[in-house]
């Protein structure tokens, strides 16, 4: 009796064995994971994006790791970028600008920063300065400075922050005293991108009383006596752009170098930053997009516990979250850029929100991507860690 049972059980077990084939892992491709980066763009914007991607892969990729390691500022490559029109993207074309919109610029910076965030961020700061001169400068100022700036033969730096005033920008101390046909500037600016290399410095200085209404924007050219620079800062990241303090000691510049009117400087500076925020947010998007791609591809090949990491639901959920956050951030940034272009009254707030969202979300995406790479993520051989910095 028992032997009969045994035989039947054995038959049953044999019949059940094919069930193990159900354990065979399906291969995940994650082909729908990445939100399409061309979504919602016009034909021309897609072309701009294409050129930016091509340029980044061709001209930024070969040097990006080296520039970071050696803290090299690739001025020659910046000029090549300017040749394509990236030097003054939303500057009017009578001085050589590309006469495009903030949204166009954000698309371009997003594409460039998918390869090199540091250099792209610098290009975006330069663009912000050019646009400032374009919008608030006089005709003479525009014609004098912009043609060489849009080709990036000359580079511009934006100088607002001081050792004693960062977040509290309007409490800045750098003074500009009128003396006949000149302003005499005294003070120092901190953390200036391009400091020491740039030919043009847009200095926010106090010409009047305390508070924002006493601040003016004054253009100072490199080589002006009294303009000097601190040591080059060694930073955690963004090493392909130099950062220095800018020091003004009885620096005399002609009154013609005042941009806008006295007392308008703070407002000009803040409005310039609206665009700057969009641009920097776009840079975050590019880096995050690239790192999400790296994470997706890594999970498809790395095997542990007998299968590729792509099969583990915990990681799949994380990828889904990362993609969602990227898509949400991108929508906010592009929408805020459009609002800024339109001159929407809420644009400033929306740009700030977009920047906040993008920077936070993209940091998490890049960090998560690094974590997914395990130990390899920590190595400089893998590009993810550079995006984190």
């Amino acid at each position: 009796m028992s032997s009969l049972l045994l035989r039947n059980t054995t038959k049953l077990v044999r019949k059940l064995q094919p069930l193990s084939s159900l354990n065979k892992q399906t291969v995940r491709y994650f082909s729908n994971l990445l939100p399409d980066i061309t979504l919602g763009l016009s034909e021309e914007q897609k072309e701009f994006q294409k050129v930016a991607f091509q340029f980044a892969e061709d001209r930024l990729l070969p040097g990006v790791a080296k520039w970071d390691k050696e803290e090299h500022f690739p001025r020659d490559v910046l000029k090549e970028a300017a040749e394509l029109g990236f030097g003054g993207i939303y500057v009017k074309d009578d001085v050589g600008g590309s006469n495009l919109t903030r949204l166009d610029a954000s698309v371009i910076f997003e594409a460039l920063s998918s390869i090199d965030v540091s250099t792209t961020a610098f290009i975006s700061i330069h663009n912000m300065c050019c646009s400032l001169i374009d919008k608030y400068g006089t005709e003479e100022q525009r014609q004098k400075f912009l043609p060489k700036l849009v080709t990036m033969e000359n580079i511009a730096s934006y100088c607002l922050t001081e050792p004693g005033s960062g977040s509290d920008a309007s409490s800045l101390q750098t003074k500009a005293v009128k003396d006949g046909g000149h302003y005499v500037l005294n003070g120092s600016k901190a953390f200036i991108s391009g400091g020491g290399e740039s030919e043009v410095y847009l200095i926010m200085a106090r010409t009047g009383g305390s508070g924002p209404k006493g601040i003016s924007c004054i253009l100072v050219e490199k080589g002006t006596p009294g303009l000097s620079f601190g040591k080059k800062e060694h930073k955690l990241g963004w090493n392909s752009q130099p950062t220095r303090a800018v020091i003004l000691e009885d620096c005399k510049v002609p009154v013609e170098n005042l941009i806008g009117k006295e007392g308008e400087g703070f407002s000009i500076a803040m409005r310039a930053l609206d665009g700057g925020r969009i641009n920097i947010a776009a840079c975050s998007l590019g880096g995050a997009h690239r790192c999400l791609t790296y994470a997706r591809d890594y999970l498809k090949v790395r095997k542990q516990f007998g299968q590729t990491l792509s099969n583990f639901q915990g990681l799949q959920f994380q990828l889904a979250d990362m993609a969602t956050e990227l898509y949400a951030s991108r929508l906010m940034v592009r929408d805020a850029a459009s609002k800024l272009d339109e001159g929407h009254p809420q644009a400033t707030g929306l740009a700030a929100m977009a920047k906040l969202k993008a920077a936070d979300a993209c940091f998490k995406i890049v960090d998560n991507s690094l974590q997914m790479h395990g130990g390899y993520g920590y190595l400089k051989e893998y590009p993810v860690e550079r995006f984190l910095r």
């Binding site: 082909s31 034909e43 021309e44 072309e47 294409k50 050129v51 091509q54 029109g85 590309s98 495009l100």
Partner: protein
């Protein structure tokens, strides 16, 4: 020379990881990044360089296929082509059909040169240029790595398996571009905006009077076999033995 015609094809981007469709009759193209065939970019660049050096007055880009090919034409216009023609069809186009359509366009536009990419990276056919030359009864310079126009003729250096060969060709002629002919330029932002204003003429295969029905049927498309594991041997003799066995199996 007056006019150069440059056909451009929209293909799956070279960097995309291709997947075979489940029906095994082709590769997955849905949601996949598409770009201009790299050899066609080189062809466009060559045409533009010839124009910049004063050897040609007008460059016409032409593409055949679905409406989406307009993107590819816009890229050609942004690089510097003067105008573009789209022969619109959603039907499958094989090299002979393309050659016949291009023949009609060439007969209408009367270019001095037709410069194509040597082959498309999706089908690697390497036929269209040659067939077009045959249909038009024009001379051909394929796999061109150098194009030197002189008065009344064009010297074309070709890369062949035997080395470099230079032909003296009297236009009108068909050339196909090889990799080392030039390095295509990036389109400048301003030129992309200017390209918006350039016209893309719309035609159809029926309008041109060409029968594009395929003559070839694809039986199956499969991924290449995964590499068999290598085997290490201890001595040279063993290696020889293994190779002899392999030969016998074949």
């Amino acid at each position: 020379m007056n006019r150069i015609l440059v056909p451009v094809k929209r293909v799956i981007d070279y960097a995309v990881k291709i997947r075979v469709r489940p029906d095994k009759l082709g590769v997955e193209t849905a949601n996949v990044k598409m770009s201009m065939n790299p050899f066609d970019e080189i062809a466009v660049e060559e045409a533009i360089q010839l124009k910049e050096k004063g050897h040609a007055k007008e460059i016409i880009a032409v593409s055949l296929g679905p409406k989406a090919n307009q993107e590819t034409l816009r890229t050609a216009l942004a690089m510097g082509a003067d105008r573009a023609i789209l022969v619109e069809t959603d039907a499958e186009l094989q090299p002979l059909a393309v050659a016949k359509l291009l023949q009609k366009i060439a007969e209408a536009e009367k270019p001095d040169l037709v410069i194509l990419g040597k082959q498309a990276i999706d089908d690697d056919a390497n036929q269209t240029g040659q067939m077009l030359a045959g249909l038009l009864k024009w001379p051909q310079g394929t796999f061109a790595s150098q194009v030197n126009p002189l008065s009344g003729k064009v010297n074309v250096t070709r890369e062949t398996d035997k080395g470099l060969e230079t032909l003296e060709i009297i236009p009108p002629a068909v050339l196909t571009a090889d990799l080392r002919l030039n390095t295509p330029r990036f389109a400048k932002l301003q030129n992309i905006m200017k390209a918006k204003k350039k016209e893309i003429e719309q035609r159809t295969p029926e309008g041109l009077g060409v029968d594009i029905s395929p003559r070839l049927t694809v039986i199956s498309v499969e991924e290449p076999p995964t590499r068999a594991a290598g085997v290490k041997v201890e001595t040279v003799d063993q290696l020889v033995q293994k190779n002899k066995k392999k030969k016998k199996k074949k």
